[in-house]
């Protein structure tokens, strides 16, 4: 007689532990996975012991491999450096060591939030974190007991993150990951897979394309640009967009149009390569796109026409 065989029974506790470790090290651990993990690890002491060993191995191997070349004069490059087109890994971090936060129970929380042009949304989350979502933006929020995760899929958002050392706050933007414990920052997702990260509270380290830059309050950096050169800005109370303004300083016209589209009920598009090279300076009331378009027309000699309900700007 043939019986169905439970695949897990064929594996040793050590192999099962390795499998669980891979699932539990992901950037987001879904609640049902975590629940299954707890069932597995508390079912049998051998599971727990095997997991304690293999997790330690994983941690130790990472530490040793990271410092191995220095200690032994070897190089890791042939091991994994070649072709490792490291996905832009953008890292923000702030460590404040405190005790466990005294907070009210935090249940599983998921939400999908979108705003239309000109709309903004202030989102209070159960842990005290506040997210302000700009116009024409979209995000998914997913809280589990192990992590707080936000997927910014479109637009711009300002994050004021409540400190919780046991639940990292992770924002993913394209293939970029922003990870914090508690700080305030703004992410602006621009066209061409670029994004701008600005810091309003805390200190931050940004790493992208193998480069690292330290940012303090009042500094911002553009990912997807070579060098990651930090630029100073007036941090003040929070990003300008929250009051409907945009401060341009030698900023490309493309960028301004990106910002305008957060508010414009009719999409705005630039036409012609010459236009995208234009840089502008000044303070623009982007919550009033028509006013900005008028000043662009007078100040830069642009012309506008409407085609298929798209406002097209030409030289």
């Amino acid at each position: 007689m043939i019986r169905a065989i439970d695949q897990q029974r064929l594996e040793t506790p050590e192999e099962q532990a390795a499998g669980w470790l891979i699932r539990m090290q992901g950037p987001i651990i879904e609640a049902h996975v975590e629940r299954q993990f707890e069932l597995w690890i508390s079912a049998d002491e051998r599971h727990a012991m095997a997991y304690a060993d293999i997790l330690a191995t994983y941690d130790i191997a990472g530490e040793i491999a990271a410092e191995g070349p220095r200690k032994s004069g070897q190089t890791l490059a042939p091991w994994y450096g070649l072709g490792a087109a490291v996905a832009a890994c953008l890292v923000l971090g702030l460590v404040v060591s405190r005790g466990l936060p005294a907070q009210s129970p935090v249940p599983q929380h998921t939400a999908t939030l979108t705003t239309g042009p000109g709309e903004t949304l202030d989102i209070p989350l159960p842990d005290g974190t506040r997210i302000a979502l700009s116009g024409a933006s979209a995000m998914r929020v997913s809280y589990t007991s192990g992590a707080r995760h936000v997927d910014l899929t479109r637009g711009e958002a300002y994050f004021d993150v409540a400190h919780d050392e046991h639940r990292p706050f992770v924002v993913t933007v394209h293939k970029t990951e922003v990870r914090v414990l508690g700080t305030a920052f703004n992410i602006d997702l621009l066209s061409g897979d670029q994004s701008e990260v600005s810091v309003y509270r805390g200190r931050v380290r940004v790493a992208a394309d193998g480069k690292k830059r330290d940012l303090t309050v009042g500094q911002k950096v553009m990912t997807g640009e070579s060098g990651l050169t930090p630029v100073s800005f007036e941090a003040g109370e929070g990003p300008d967009w929250r009051s409907g303004w945009f401060d341009a300083e030698e900023t490309s016209l493309t960028r301004l149009v990106d910002e305008l589209n957060r508010y414009a009920t009719r999409p705005i598009r630039l036409e012609g390569a010459a236009l995208s090279h234009i840089t502008i300076s000044g303070r623009f009331k982007i919550s009033d796109p028509e006013r900005v378009i008028r000043s662009l027309k007078t100040g830069y000699g642009l012309r506008s026409s409407v085609r298929n309900n798209v406002l097209v700007l030409t030289k």
Binding site: E38, A65, S97, E165, H166
Partner: protein, 182 residues
Amino acid sequence: MTERQDQDWATLLAVVRRYVLNRLRQPDLADDIAQNTVLRIIEYQQDNIVVSLYALSFRIADNQIREYFRKLKPTDALDAADDFACAQPLPDRVAEDRAETQAVLAALASMPPLRRNVFMRRRLDGESCQDIGRALGLNVKAIEKHITRALLDLNAARRRWHMSDEAQVSDTIKEEVGEARR
């Protein structure tokens, strides 16, 4: 949720201690960190919903281990931030266990290149299994298989080293006992 029994806490304590001891090799310190971890967990789960006590315990213990390393060698606060942020290994791991370090390096060096590549991308670069799969043209299951194999290799290497280390220690004890008898 049902009340957890003392027995459960005792098991959790033993498991956390084992994890810390694996990493620090200092029994007294492992006791302290494990006890501290479980106390904090007991307190925390009274006011918070915890899906996995084990997962949270390992994270808390890991934080305390990192804290300990940081105090040993003061580093820039941002380097410390990096540890949390990227789950990057500590740059200043105290390699008092040179033999263990050599054993792990040897195990890494003797892995098939693909297995090593996959493991390093996951562990050091923090790439997701999906991203590694895309970069190497493999499916996620295959990537997970490679990481599992790498973990088992490394675990075996550490176990071999640990056993030989214990053997040496017990030889030393025997010698000392022998000395005393003479």
